[in-house]
């Protein structure tokens, strides 16, 4: 196991997570209630209570590279149970943003799917399922993962061959534009 140099902890990381989430993470006393209630602990590489501990210790790299960030379903169990009233789900959300910004998303396919989804929304004003799936499958190279779902979805009329543009899709596209300009 890697030895953490606590003196080399990144204090700015804690401050940044705190200011962006509006939470006081110094109140966390590691009771473990968040981990105890989390329905995804089985899949996490770092349980959520330890994510909180690593943020306190300023371990930016370990937190932002964690797979747990991307497996979190934002179900808010952790937030509901926290005795110190920390919005833990919000903290996970902030960490996801910071991971994307620093380009260290550990779950590649999750990022690809999110990107494909957002691109679809930008182009059509809403999700175009077939286009989304095609883009995701091509980019990820996972051709056979979801193929079995195809016929069922088609039969239930859930996959259209043509996108359904919405009214005002230009405005939606402009939201993306404004975001990129950083407005």
């Amino acid at each position: 196991m890697k030895i953490l140099d606590l003196s080399a902890g990144d204090r700015d990381f804690l401050a940044e997570v705190e200011s962006r989430s509006g939470q006081n993470l110094k109140t966390c006393y590691q009771c473990g209630n968040c981990t105890a209630g989390c329905p995804y602990t089985f899949a996490y590489d770092i349980p959520v209570s330890q994510v909180m501990r690593l943020i306190q210790a300023g371990q930016r790299e370990m937190v932002l590279n964690s797979k747990s960030l991307w497996l979190c379903a934002s179900c808010q169990s952790c937030t509901t149970r926290c005795p110190n009233e920390i919005d833990v789900a919000k903290v996970m959300d902030v960490c996801r943003h910071m991971a994307r910004e620093s380009g260290c998303v550990s779950e590649r396919t999750t990022k690809l799917f999110t990107d494909a989804f957002l691109q679809s929304v930008e182009t059509h004003g809403r999700a175009y399922e077939l286009g989304l799936m095609a883009r995701y499958t091509l980019k990820s190279g996972r051709f056979f993962d979801n193929i079995a779902l195809g016929p069922t979805a088609l039969l239930h009329n859930k996959l259209s061959f043509k996108p359904h543009p919405i009214q005002g899709k230009e405005q939606v596209a402009r939201i993306f534009e404004r975001f990129r300009k950083g407005e």
């Binding site: 009771c31 209630n33 981990t35 209630g37 602990t41 089985f42 349980p47 209570s49 005795p83």
Partner: protein
């Protein structure tokens, strides 16, 4: 007048951010100041000697000390000037520590403010006059409110010390929470075996009178001379005749009365004696469930009672006692765990509190000392203990540690193994707090010798599965989620201030903190005193406490009461209100506003109504002085002239374009 000013450095506490030498220089120029100096620690022996020497050498007749808050050291300095031959009220204190040096960092501003405060004190002192305390006799009797172990100890110590004691207990029997416990940590000795004899002593001590089923209704008077009204609730049994034979409880047909002594685990009869060792061992009727009192039919207890002590017509009775001191030992309540959704909010009968578990363990409990779970009476194999339920949790407004749950949980894990050798205990904890003598060794024994499995983490969910409960929690040391199929879940419910503590506090003029625990006079040096003279605290009413600490505090409170009442006479504070009869118009507004009933109306020899202050009752609060439309009633040592002189010192009249000349 010849005034001396002493500026204290308080080490670096004051001198660190106040230029004390400059304050001395400025103060030397104040009116009537003939001597000014500074010292390192004015409260120390040489510091006090310095004051006394200066009084003699410079022929001072008034002294100002600029130092800390008067709470701690005003009495110290008053004694010092008295030793030098001055009247102790010819002394003033300026607080340049709490009000200046500790709160500001700017040395120049601090120095100015300190000088201003000294000037205010000097201006007030110029208008002080010598006051002489009056003395009064005391009642050699103590009221103890609450008959738990702390109150019992306080009562016995006071009585053994020669004082008469009146004990008031809200419940039907004394003993409090300790009487409900099975065994006590860290020695595993039987709770009722060690408490029982003390309870009997209360009943048999010739100097103690016990009022059970009673509450304090009102308190008036002052230290040494309190007048207390006690409400004795109707028990519908004449306790002067009842022998506690128990025949009525056997024959009572109404058997579904809630049983608070057994923490509502079972039911009891409407007329009952709560437990075999109850003191007083007298029966009482629960009027809510008694068929005779509810519907007018039954009356069996009256028929079977061999001494004819049942009285369905009994009413509440008010009793007034005069006491010299009061010990408050009202104890604590348990946190209502139903606020937590994760423990089922009461849906699962096999999730119980630790005190309910004590009753299951106790031989006098509803199961006769066999651990049977409430749902089906089966003996549990896997027992899960969850600690910190309502402790250290800001989200339910209980941020404090209840202190003794770690220990009783370890005890219950040990007893579980003793009762059921093939059982396994699991303890979910956050931190183990075991700082007492032999305490940490005790928790280690629970783990090492009795095999209790301690899991560091919280429980997020309890749900039923077959006839078991699945407890899902975290093991933060392993960094994983854990599950236990439990037969019984015991919640270590935290400590809360006793219900009614706030109301009692108002009656006694004792301040509760934000959680309802009574505030002691000083957190370190006056742990059992309150800010009301003659009222002392013992046990968990002041904050969560285990048995040894409660007993220690009971004795400490008794020592304080004995010390107070060992004096033949007490001195009253002469800083009380005084009526100028020439100006009083007899409007009696002061009588209406006085919270202590210290002012009475008298008729002078011309037949005119006048107010008169009862000096020993007046607490010097000053409400009457601001009420009087004539300015006829003045608080000695804090007259309008003295307070205005202080204000004028701070804001000289010419600056406000107002002339007071």
């Amino acid at each position: 007048m010849r005034i001396g000013v002493f500026i204290c450095h308080c080490g670096s506490n004051i001198a660190g951010t106040v230029d004390c030498e400059s304050v001395v220089e400025i103060a030397a120029g104040f009116p009537e100041v003939v001597y000014a100096t500074d010292s390192m620690y004015t409260c120390s022996e040489p510091g006090q000697e310095g004051i006394i020497t200066a009084i003699h050498e410079h022929n001072l007749d008034g002294v100002v000390v600029a130092s800390c808050s008067p709470r701690m050291h005003e009495p110290t300095f008053r004694r010092a000037v008295e030793r030098a031959g001055l009247n102790r009220y010819m002394f003033e204190m300026a607080n340049i520590r709490e009000h200046v040096s500790w709160i500001g960092k700017d040395k120049a501003h601090n120095t100015n403010k300190a000088a201003d405060l000294v000037l205010m004190a000097v201006e007030k002192l110029r208008r002080n006059r010598p006051l002489v305390a009056k003395s009064f006799t005391t009642v050699k009797k103590v009221l103890v409110i609450g008959g738990g172990v702390a109150g019992i100890q306080a009562a016995l110590d006071c009585a053994d010390g020669g004082l008469d004691v009146v004990m008031v207990e809200r419940d039907q029997s004394i003993g409090g929470k300790m009487a409900k416990l099975d065994k006590t940590f860290p020695t595993i000795d039987c709770s009722s075996c060690v408490l029982g004899p003390k309870m009997v002593d209360i009943a048999q001590h010739e100097k103690i009178s016990l009022y059970a089923c009673s509450e304090v209704e009102s308190v008036s008077g002052y230290v040494g001379n309190f007048s207390v009204t006690i409400r004795r609730r109707a028990t519908y049994v004449d306790w002067t005749k009842c022998t506690g034979c128990g025949v009525c409880t056997e024959k009572c047909p109404s058997k579904r009365s809630p049983d608070p002594f057994n923490e509502f685990l079972g039911t009891t009869t409407s007329i009952n004696i709560p437990f075999p060792q109850a003191i007083p061992k007298k029966a009482a009727i629960n009027p809510d469930t008694c068929m005779k009192l509810q519907k007018g039919k039954c009356g069996i207890c009256a028929k079977v009672c061999p001494v004819g002590c049942i009285d369905y017509e009994q009413q509440d009775e008010l009793v007034t006692v005069e006491v010299g001191a009061i010990v408050v030992a009202t104890g604590y309540d348990l946190f209502d765990w139903h606020k937590y959704p994760q423990y089922g909010e009461g849906r699962y009968p096999d999730v119980i509190t630790s005190l309910q578990y004590e009753r299951l363990l106790s031989a006098s409990g509803p199961t006769g000392g066999h651990i049977k779970r409430p749902s089906d009476g089966k003996e549990p194999k896997n027992v899960v203990f969850i600690q910190c339920v309502g402790s250290r949790d800001r989200s339910v407004d209980r941020p404090y540690c209840s202190g003794f749950c770690c220990m009783y949980t370890a005890k219950q894990a040990i007893l579980t193994k003793d009762h059921i050798p093939d059982s396994q205990s699991f303890v979910f904890y956050m931190d183990i707090r075991a700082p007492g003598k032999g305490y940490d060794e005790f928790t280690r024994r629970a783990m090492e010798e009795y095999g209790a499995q301690y899991v560091r983490g919280r429980v997020a969910m309890i749900y039923p599965h077959g006839d078991q409960l699945i407890v899902r929690g975290a093991d933060t040391l392993a960094g994983t989620q854990v599950e236990v199929p439990a037969d019984l879940v015991v919640l270590a419910t935290g400590v809360e201030a006793s219900q009614g503590a706030v109301k009692l506090g108002e009656t006694l003029r004792v301040v509760p903190d934000q959680f309802g625990f009574f505030v002691e006079s000083h957190p370190k040096l006056k742990p059992v005193e309150t800010n009301t003279a003659g009222v002392y605290l013992a046990g968990a009413c002041q904050g969560p406490k285990d048995i040894p600490t409660s007993v220690g505090q009971g004795s400490a409170a008794a020592a304080k009461a004995l010390g107070l009442l060992s004096k033949e006479q007490l001195e009253s504070d002469p800083a009380v209100s005084k009526v100028n009869v020439n100006r009083c118009v007899g409007c009696q507004k002061c009588i209406d506003t006085c919270p202590f009933g210290a002012i009475k109306a008298v008729t002078d020899r011309m037949g005119r109504l006048k107010a008169e202050v009862i000096e020993t009752v007046c607490q010097g609060c000053g409400i009457c002085t601001v009420t009087c439309p004539q300015g006829a009633i003045q608080l000695e040592h804090f007259t309008d002239n003295q307070i205005l002189a202080e204000v004028n010192a701070l804001c000289p009249p010419k600056m406000n374009n107002v002339s007071f000349e």
